[in-house]
Amino acid sequence: MMQGAPSAKVAAAVRRIFGPGAEASPLTVAADTVLRVARGDSLLGFAAVRNVIGKDQPITFLVAVDPADRLKDVDVLVYREPYGGEVVYEAWRRQFRGKSIADSLRVGREIRVISGATISVHAVTLGVKRALADLTHWHQTGAIR
């Protein structure tokens, strides 16, 4: 099963997060794909598009970090489950902004629970943590630059 988001959606998310003129180009690292985001010659950050499984459907999300490895924003690009769709709302997603791998991201503590969307909340939070850890690791080891 191979699922992603339409390229227009990814490009729009990148522009929303990094501002107008931000362009994403794919880099391959450790059999994964990372988007390098730049405006002209200046590096704005990196992003990864990934899936996590909700109850039975993949949730496609994008995690963006700045050059200092702080999480800039999370975007839920495609949500396919019939319930639990509240994770797409900016009011919930914005809790991740500014976090780095030094911060803890625990559901019910730093990350608010959404009653009736428990599975999606846990799935997206875990997915974001993993993506943030990967992007930070690759950036700090020079695999992406």
């Binding site: 598009v49 899936n51 495609v78």
Partner: protein
């Protein structure tokens, strides 16, 4: 949920950024099957002499879903209650709790057909053991809202475009049968649950809910309306004869270590007098009640909770039926829930049942474990 077929996101990213020509391909879903489940084991010890404790594998449920493409998904739950079924009919139950096909047109609109969960209250739709406190489900969710309530029908659900956080579901399903109604359990045994169900009384049920977009609060309102003749012409020939109406409201609030829940419901049985005369029952003309629950996670993963339920399956009785105040129940449950992970739970609680008549009272200690994946 564990995956039979793992998802691979990485290749799609390349397609996603490659250009519009590949975008459609990237968004295409390959068929996949998902397996999951939930279950619970209970230890029940009523207080008093000659009431030995009992242990029971209360529920073992297999969740099976199949995604055919981006739009079409099948979902089902097959349940074994009380560990085994042994003829002739001594306990146990094997049943389908849900089995339906979803056709998703958009976020706002999914068409659903099959055996569906009635969207009334909290527990009926969300009943996996780690999602609620107490070993057993609340008594209210047995005698007033008859969980697990499922019927066959067709409906629509999705996001309401009014503002962020609004959702709806609206189903047309087979009706309840009045010949199963009772004084103690209300409409419970009037459910048909998908087995050669009479479609004499197509009924409408639905729910509107709002979840605060930032999380922490969800409120909902639900209804059911329909006839209950089940084809018995002595009760009526029309499809909405001997109608019942269910109205319910619920709220779930969570902030830090604090979690609160509240549910109320009222069931109006319009022709309770005729039903009681015809079937020799003593169904209330109104069944009503609700509960309040508060829980506090005082140590990481460990919560203490208290729940107070008040309900009466004979809140009103029709002329000719004697009201038994033993059905006006007050149930208080105190307990602990330990959740090492969000989807596993170890539970213990003590329940005190009191009635307005002072009859049928009791106190029970329960211990249990539950899981979902």
């Amino acid at each position: 949920m564990s995956r039979v077929v793992e998802c691979l996101a990485l290749a799609s990213v390349v397609l996603a950024v490659a250009g519009p020509a590949d975008a459609q391909q990237a968004n295409e879903t390959r068929e996949s099957t998902t397996i999951g489940g939930y279950g619970e084991v209970h230890y029940t010890n009523p207080r008093g002499p000659n009431t030995p404790a009992e242990v029971n594998l209360r529920r073992f449920v297999v969740y099976l879903a199949h995604t055919f493409n981006d739009r079409v998904t099948f979902r089902s739950e097959l349940e074994i209650e009380d560990a085994k079924v042994e003829p002739p009919g001594a306990g146990g139950e094997v049943a389908l709790e849900q089995a339906f096909l979803d056709y998703r047109f958009s976020d706002r609109f999914t068409l659903r057909t099959g055996l569906v969960l009635i969207p009334v209250g909290i527990i009926n739709e969300t009943h996996e053991p780690p999602t609620f406190n107490s070993v057993d489900r609340p008594a209210f969710d047995h005698d007033v809202i008859p969980t697990t309530w499922r019927e066959i029908g067709v409906g629509i659900l999705g996001r309401l475009p009014v503002a962020d956080g609004w959702n709806y579901r609206l189903y047309l399903v087979n009706g309840l049968r009045a010949d199963g109604f009772s004084d103690a359990e209300g409409i419970r045994e009037g459910r048909q649950e998908g087995r050669e169900a009479s479609f004499a009384n197509p009924s409408l049920t639905g729910r509107i809910e709002w979840a605060r977009p930032a999380g922490g609060l969800r409120v909902g309102g639900s209804f059911w309306y329909g006839g209950t003749t089940g084809g018995d012409t002595l009760l009526g020939r029309g499809s909405v004869d001997a109608p019942i109406a269910v109205l319910s409201a619920d709220a779930r609030y969570q902030r830090g270590p604090l979690a609160l829940r509240a549910v109320v419901a009222t069931v109006s049985v319009a022709d309770a007098d005729t039903i009681n005369a015809l079937y020799g029952s003593a169904v209330g003309s109104r069944i009503a009640g609700g509960y309040l629950e508060g829980a506090y996670e005082f140590v990481s993963h460990l919560s203490a909770f208290v729940r107070h339920e008040r309900y009466d399956t004979q809140a009103d009785v029709p002329a000719g039926t004697t009201r038994d105040r033993g059905f006006a129940r007050r149930v208080t449950t105190l307990g602990l829930t330990f959740k090492p992970t969000w989807n596993t739970a170890f539970k213990g609680d003590y329940t005190v049942l009191r009635t307005a008549a002072g009859t049928g009272q009791g106190e029970t200690l329960r211990l249990g474990v539950g899981y979902q994946f």
